[in-house]
Symmetry: C2
């Protein structure tokens, strides 16, 4: 409301002095300091951060771009709360902006944050290609980090997860349990993550000399409804399967819902594994096994690295995080893996 100049007038000093008091830099006598504090109080003065950031070329803000198509999943809250917490530890503010639902809009969101002079930007891309991101990174002076994509040129600016290996291991686990007809529900195939998970599944089958059957591979769209639809199409086509690997937990939940609806006992007849497991998942899907995606670790690492670029200090070189297969003890439905 009131400006620094007005405070200065009230206190009978100059703008410069008020600024010194506020920043704590430079000498200023005890008495005038008190006068200034009082004037600030009286005026109800608040600094205009736009002006400050413009002058200092710093903002203490770090931007995060996420597509709103992710907002509805379990994944999102984990991502956001982790990022907010971690940045809070380093005295930074997180600014989340909506990446909306296209590559263009994701790019606009990034540029908005950069134009706002955020100190750094984190991208959790969904539609943007790595080439475009590589370009953007080189175009701007602010550090930009990409989560969950393997960049081509700026490899130190990204963190990713071995989705293929994770999927391979999950499939291998099912095979070792004796399964041969394993249905696979893909994510949206315009997503690299979905592709990697599919290829891990295929590779595991190949390595165990089990034929990859096209009819066992159904396209999903990450949502519970698409998981349910996928399993329904399998049933309608009378495809035989004894296990399901769904490309994320939401779809696995849809699968469980559909199977129970038609009277198929989950643990006895079919084994199911999902992906992306987050902390609250055990409550939502008590006996669904899942491959934990290391979001938290990745976000944490990304932020550590950004802070180190801004402040100096921390350094690490871990670019690739691994997933962990969580086989849950069954609770409500009996043992999942007991054949």
């Amino acid at each position: 409301m009131s400006t620094m100049q007005e405070v200065a007038n009230k206190a009978g000093v100059s703008k410069a002095t008020v600024s010194r008091v506020l920043s704590g830099k430079g000498y200023v006598s005890k008495t005038t300091k008190d006068r200034v504090y009082k004037a600030i109080e009286d005026a109800g003065y608040r600094p205009n951060l736009l002006a400050r950031n413009l002058a200092t070329n710093k903002s203490q803000c770090i931007g995060l771009v996420v597509t709103n198509t992710l907002y509805n999943g379990n994944y999102f809250s984990e991502l956001i709360s982790q990022a907010a917490q971690k940045l809070e530890d380093h005295g930074r503010q997180l600014i989340l902006v909506d990446g909306k639902h296209s590559a263009e809009e994701e790019q606009e969101a990034i540029q908005f944050l950069l134009d706002l002079q955020c100190d750094a930007v984190i991208i959790y891309p969904r539609f943007l290609t790595i080439d475009v991101m590589d370009d953007i990174i080189e175009q701007y002076k602010q550090p930009i980090m990409v989560v969950n994509r393997r960049l081509r040129k700026n490899q130190s600016q990204c963190i990713c997860c071995d989705h293929k290996g994770a999927s391979f291991n999950a499939t291998k686990h099912l095979i070792e349990q004796g399964h041969r007809d394993i249905a696979f529900i893909t994510g949206s195939l315009d997503s690299p993550t979905a592709i990697e998970r599919l290829s891990g599944y295929k590779e595991a089958l190949n390595q165990h000399h089990i034929e990859v059957q096209d009819k066992l591979i159904i396209k999903g769209k990450w949502t519970p409804a698409s998981g349910a639809a996928a399993i329904e199409s399998l049933l309608n086509n009378k495809v035989t399967f004894s296990a399901v690997l769904a490309s994320n937990d939401d779809m696995a939940i849809g699968v469980i819902k559909k199977l129970t609806e038609v009277g198929i006992a989950i643990p006895t007849d079919v084994s199911i594994i999902g992906f992306d497991n987050i902390p609250t998942a055990p409550y939502l899907t008590p006996s669904l096994s899942s491959v934990k995606d290391p979001v938290s670790n990745m976000v944490s690492e990304v932020i550590n690295r950004l802070i180190s670029m801004l402040d100096g200090g921390y350094l690490s070189k871990n670019n690739l995080f691994t997933s962990e297969l969580l086989v849950r003890d069954s609770v409500a439905y009996g043992p999942f893996w007991g054949k």
Copy 2:
């Protein structure tokens, strides 16, 4: 990177002309316009939003403050995605900042957004008292709207929901189903919402001349774990109950988990209702009935009203939204309400 002045030099014109080209305001000849566009392209120019906002005293940004203790619930994603979507429709950017986990920090978050000169701020408060919020609202020139709290002084700046009435109705429904011993699990009692829901429960019992039994009222903390713990203590103390009203769905999920663990058949032996139901809930808790909290409607209304204050146009006076009891058809577990 490069400034408007540099673009102007490249194009052989003045800053003002570049500015005119960018804003589309004022006359500028076709030929120079083209020269300027080319210069902008060549320079890779991007406007500095800090400077622009400082000069215009507008930002096209609307801030939202939410405690990160909410980030992990289902509620949050619904809230955020709704807000982002709605603001997108009006050409505004949503900026989410972390309200962290105390009244002071919530207040700091608000002031941060205001200091950033956001055009308006939306608060979904968790710890802040209405008195403090009333003060803040009067202190700043930017419009501030509060969701889910009934302000004392600035009643037109808030939107809320009749939690008490909703809880009353849910309880009444259980009573009409023949239940007499209805356990109630509260939310964190430092939350007004939790208090209102508790009082609705009590009032419904009173109105039906059913004694309020203290041993049936257990304190929870909104989390699934606390719901499970609550039900466990009831069982340990051999308290008789035939229905459970949990103050949110997360706790209800914990209740279901615990009951199934100890071998109590949910639908046959006990009826359960939760609160806050969000769109994806049917997949998470297929047969849990729930009282739908009208978050979407409230957020939508708040944003409509803000936009109208900023742009003019829309007007509405609906300050109080009502909840709706959703009794689900059971799917996996048999009929919930069949006694």
